[in-house]
Amino acid sequence: MNPHDEMDEGRVDDALESLRRSLPTPTTDELQGIADAAKQQPRSIARRPIASRWSRPVLAGVAIITLLIGSTLGFGLASALTPSGTAAGNPIGLGFLPEPGWDVLQTGADVTRDQRVIAMASNRAFAPDDAARNLRYSSGLPYATLLALPKNGIVIVVSFTTTNRLTTPSDLYPARDLPLSLREASPWAGIGAQVRPERPLGQYLLRASMDAYNVELQIYFGTLRPSPEMVEAAQRQVDRLSVNARAKSTAVHSRALPLRTSSVRATAASRILDRTFVCSATYVGGAYTIEGRGHSGTGRVAGAWGRPPFAAVETGAAANGGPRNPTILDNSLVWITAGRPSATATLVEGSVLSDLYRTRLWGTLAVNTDLCRNAKKQIQLASRGLRGGALGSFEESSKCFTPRRVFMRVRAVLSSPAVLRRFRDFGRTTVPVREATFVIQTEAGKRLVYGEVFESGRARLFTARDCFPS
C-alpha cells in the first residue's frame, strides 16, 4: 500500500468515526426505562441442551420417520378418539418477574421428582458467589447475600417441588391460590433456622400447594421488625410470582399487613437458652417409650472434663432416624452436658464408635429437630412428684411408657451467647454449658423425666414413679 492509499484509508476511518460520534444515543435513564419495560414481559423457558452427538438434520429426519410410522400405526385413530381442545397458554412457567429495582435469579424451569426449581428475588444485588454457585449446586439459599443483607434489604426465596414427594406431608402445604398473602406467613425461627444469629434477620415462611406443586416461600428481611413499607414492597414482589402464569391482583396493602411479629428471644444469640418443644416418641415392641439416663462428671483436668456431667432422654430404638445415615444418637430427644469438655470427651461411651461422637463436635447441648419442633406451652421446670436424685459416676437409666406426643422444656445457662445451630438431625450448640435442665411431660401435664447438670460435675435425674430401671 503506497503512502497515498494509507492516507485515504485514514481518511475513511476518520470519516466513519466522525459519523459515529455524531449519532445521538439514548440516555442512561432512557435505556433503563426500555429495560424495565422489557422486563415486564414474561420470559421464555430455557430449553435443555440437546446432546451434540446428533445434529439437528439427523434429529429432524428421525422425527419425521417416527411420525410417519406413528401415523400409520394409529396416531390418526387415537386422535379421532381423543377429545380435541386448546391447551392453556403457559408463557412464564415458574418463578419471579422482577419488580422495578429488584434482582431475580432462578434455577431451571422443570420440576421433577428429584429436582426442585428455586427462584429468588432481592431488592439488593445478589452476591456474585450466590449467582454463580449456591443457586445451582448448594442448598438454594443465597447465603452470601443474606449474611450481608442491610436493614432495609429483602430476599425472597421460593422453591417448587412436586406434590407427590413422599417426604412432604400434604398438610404442610395447604391449598392456596395466587396472589399469596404475606399476612399468612409465619415467623420462622426453628432450631438452627436463623441464618444470621448475631444480627437476626426477620424470617418468614409461607407454604402453599397449587397446580401440582408444593410452593415454599422464605422471606428474609434485614431486620427482625420490618416496616410496613418493607412488607408491602415484599408483597409486590410476591405478587409477581408466577406459577404457570396464574392471574394476580393488585390489592397489596390488604394482603401484606399486618405481618405477624417474630420472637426475638427465639432467634437472637443469648447466654440463656430456654425453649419448649413438642416431640414425637417412637416405639419399641409396640409401646412408645422414653428413657432418661445420665451420670456425673469425672476426669477433670485443667478445667476440662474428660467425662462431663451428662443427662439425656432417648426414645424407642437406636438409629431409627431420618433420611441420612442413621447414627447411634438419632433416637435422643435431648442431651445436656455441663462444663468444658476435653478434646476426647464423647457422648457415646464404651463403643468402638465412641471417637465419632466427640462432645465438641456433636454438641454440649442438643435437641432432636427430626423428632421435636417448637411449641408454646407453659411447662414448669420442677422435679416435684418424680423419683430420683443425684447421679453417680456410673451411668444410670430409667425407662417410661409414654403417649406418642410429649412436651419438653430445656433451659441452659451458656458460657457465652449462642443459638442452636443445625447439625445433622439436631439443633445443637458447642458452647460450654454452665448449668442445664430439662423436663419432659405428657400433654396432660404428667411429668415423666427431669434432668439437670452443673458445671461443678453434679448431675441429677428424676423419673416418674411408674418408670422402671433399664
Partner: protein, 175 residues
C-alpha cells in the same frame, strides 16, 4: 481507530459473557447492565438503518423486549452481541416494511451537527445496501469479522471482500 474500537469490544465481550449468563438465570440487574452496555450501539445501528429516530426507538424497545424474553434460549453467551444485532436487524426490517417506502433523513437526527458527518452519511447512503450494512457493522459498531458474518449470515471471507469493496467505494465517494 476502528481497530482500537474492535479491541475494546473484545474486552467487553469477556466480561459480557458472565453478565449474560446471570441475565439468563433471570438477574434483572445483569440484564440492565447488558442494555446499558449494548443499547447505544444498537440504537445507532437502528438509526442508520431506519433513518428515523422514532422508528429507531420503537425498534430498540422491541429488540430489548425480545432479548429479555428469549435470552434463556441463547446457547452461547459469548455470542450475545451478534445475537442482539440479529434481533435488531429483523426488527428494523419489520418496521421498514410497515412504513412508507421513502423516508427522508431528519437532519435534527445528529446530536452535534457536523458538516463532515453529514457528508459521510450522504456518501454512505449512496452505497449499495450490502456495502452500507457491512460498513455499519464493521466500522461504526465495531463487530469483528466473525460476528458480522454471523449477523449477515455469510462467510467470513465474504465479509472481508465486502468490507474491502465498501471501503473502496466510500473512499471514491469522499474523494
Amino acid at each position: 481507530m476502528a481497530h482500537e474500537r474492535t479491541r475494546a469490544h473484545d474486552n467487553i465481550e469477556r466480561d459480557e459473557a458472565a453478565t449474560v449468563r446471570r441475565a439468563q438465570l433471570g438477574s434483572a440487574k445483569a440484564f440492565d447492565e447488558l442494555v446499558r452496555t449494548r443499547g447505544p450501539d444498537l440504537y445507532r445501528y437502528l438509526l442508520l438503518r431506519l433513518r428515523n429516530e422514532s422508528d429507531a426507538r420503537d425498534a430498540l424497545q422491541e429488540t430489548i423486549t425480545d432479548a429479555w424474553k428469549n435470552l434463556p434460549k441463547l446457547r452461547q453467551p459469548e455470542n450475545c452481541w451478534p445475537w442482539l444485532m440479529t434481533i435488531a436487524k429483523r426488527k428494523a426490517i419489520a418496521i421498514a416494511r410497515k412504513r412508507p417506502k421513502v423516508v427522508d433523513l431528519d437532519l435534527d437526527l445528529f446530536a452535534r451537527p457536523d458538516e463532515s458527518a453529514l457528508e459521510v452519511w450522504d456518501a454512505i447512503a449512496r452505497l449499495r445496501p450490502i456495502h452500507r450494512e457491512i460498513l455499519t457493522l464493521r466500522y461504526l459498531l465495531g463487530l469483528s469479522e466473525r460476528e458480522a458474518a454471523q449477523v449477515l449470515g455469510i462467510r467470513v471471507g465474504a465479509v472481508k471482500t465486502r468490507s474491502f469493496v465498501a471501503r473502496q467505494a466510500l473512499k471514491e465517494l469522499l474523494a
